[in-house]
């Protein structure tokens, strides 16, 4: 018996009034939660609406009116006209390449730190943990001049290297707990069987970390997909820009066509929204796990 029912029973005749008050409170709580949900979603719904209208409809109809004749041509228009297709593909491959590299390299170092024996392991771990507190902006000027000297300015390699380095600490941090919890017997058994470390890592340990790898991959993808300042600083040609910077420049040129702006913004956020629709549990888990990153 729960305490609620117990207290309701104990109060006998007053029980009905208490239930009523309790229901009212419950309804009030729901109203608060729904109001917050509306506030969170409303700007996005409005964005979707005006992405399907032309300027006349945006400015003359009430802002919340449904797009009566949805103008999907806004989407097809901006997709190729503003180089959005190029930016989109760049975002996809740079995000995926950086994420894959981060996850593999972080797994290797986490394995070495947690499972192997060497004197400097805690010092190396400390280096990664301290790096988490360093603001990216403070590294921007030297990184620009270093990449400039190495002829990597306006080259996606500069982006991939920075994404991997800056996401490494949080990725290691999330993997760490999982690796510490791996049973030692796994290694002992494979060593006795004459397994090399490489074989043990790639064939046995890495496959065991599937679920936590997915979590780290998701937060890496979200960070990389949305990254702005490095692309804005390192990349100058349209050929290599990603969506965040591409969208910004495109809108800068066409500030008056709201339908086109709306469609461009929708295209830039849609992949993450669709992923969220299918993977929301994992994404919630990933963001919670990555919450230590300020």
């Amino acid at each position: 018996m729960t305490s609620e029912t117990a207290s309701q029973l104990s109060r006998g005749a007053e029980g009905f009034g208490i239930i009523k008050a309790w229901r009212l409170g419950y309804a009030l709580l729901y109203a608060i939660l729904i109001a917050v949900a509306i506030l969170q979603l409303f700007p996005l719904v409005w964005l979707l609406f005006f992405s399907l209208k032309n300027n006349q409809e945006v400015f003359q109809l009430p802002p919340l009116s449904l797009p009566m004749n949805p103008r999907w041509e806004n989407y097809s228009k901006v997709w190729s006209a503003g180089n959005i297709d190029v930016y989109f593909l760049n975002s996809v491959w740079i995000t995926l390449a950086a994420t894959a590299l981060t996850v593999v390299i972080a797994s290797l170092v986490t394995f070495a730190i947690t499972r192997m024996r060497w004197k400097l392991s805690s010092l190396v771990l400390g280096l990664f943990m301290v790096a988490m507190m360093i603001p990216v902006h403070s590294t921007l000027i030297p990184l620009f001049s270093m990449f400039n000297k190495a002829s990597l300015i306006d080259n996606p390699i500069s982006l991939i290297l920075t994404y991997v380095a800056f996401n490494m600490p949080i990725t290691i941090m999330i993997l760490l707990g999982f690796y510490y919890a791996l049973p030692k017997e796994v290694e002992e058994a494979s060593v006795i069987d004459g397994c090399s470390v490489n074989r043990m890592f790639f064939r046995i340990v890495l496959p065991m970390t599937n679920s936590v790898l997915a979590t780290t991959a998701i937060i890496n993808i979200i960070y990389n997909w949305n990254e702005f300042i490095f692309v804005n600083t390192f990349i100058s040609s349209d050929h290599y820009k990603t969506l965040t910077v591409g969208v910004q420049n495109f809108i800068g040129q066409y500030t008056t066509d709201w339908g086109a702006i709306g469609a461009t913004l929708m295209i830039s956020i849609l992949p993450i929204l669709v992923a969220f629709l299918f993977l929301s549990d994992r994404i919630v888990e990933g963001i919670a796990a990555g919450s230590v990153k300020g």
Partner: protein
Amino acid sequence: MNTVMSNKKVIALYVLPALVLILAIVYIPIILTGYYGLTKWNGIGSPVFIGFDNYGALLRDSMFWSSAWHSLLLALFSGISLVLYLAIAMVLASRIKGANLFRKIYLIPMLLSSVAIAQLWLRIYHPTNGILNSVLSSIGIDNPPAWLAEPKLVLLAIFVPILWQYAGFYILIYYAALKNIPASLEEAAKIDGANALQIAWKIKLPLAMEVVKVTIVLAVVGSLKYFDLIYVMTSGGPNGASEVMASYMYKEAFKAYDFGYGSATGFFLLVICLIATWIIRKLTASKDTIQYS
């Protein structure tokens, strides 16, 4: 076993890629930022060592101090907004059906890029066609302000999308912390006659305090680093009224081509972030942690 697991070659092979990257992309640049801050440099020629001149100039630069003040104000707003997030999380965690769905809906803005959020809110705040002012004029407020063009309002106007963007994130963290509190504690308090508010204030809040402290550090240090949203929405304007430390650094280096001065600003930002983290950790470090498991 020991010989296999302490194979130096394998360790080097596994550690070096990550180690070289973090040293080359994070640590060496930080050292260089410190060094460039002591030079006069336009980014093209070679840096000329000038000692602490940049730092001296920085301390006398009223634009820099106002940008630091704006960063601090945003940090303060963010800190205060945590109370709101915690209250919502309390409601959400009070055994309500559909809590999981609400939690996910709240998180959606967090997944979007700051550029998309900034562009969307630029339309919301648009003086004539934006949804905010059309709603205001439809309820009879005739001359609603041009939010982002008013020096007195602009920081507040920028803070609203920040509030919107991070709501789901902090609610998610608080929700998890509150859900970790054993139900038996709440039930015991109820039997003793405590009402919902008393339970929230006297039991749930103290037990979630450790997490609250972590989020204070996250919110404050995070706001000291704001850049993308402000760069896109106002680029520091009008007249520097929304300039923050990171945007000021960016302007000095990449717009005014004063890399030495920009580096000094960047180094200052780093030091302030580290000091802020340290101070908040010290202030909020509890001597006795509460045991409830």
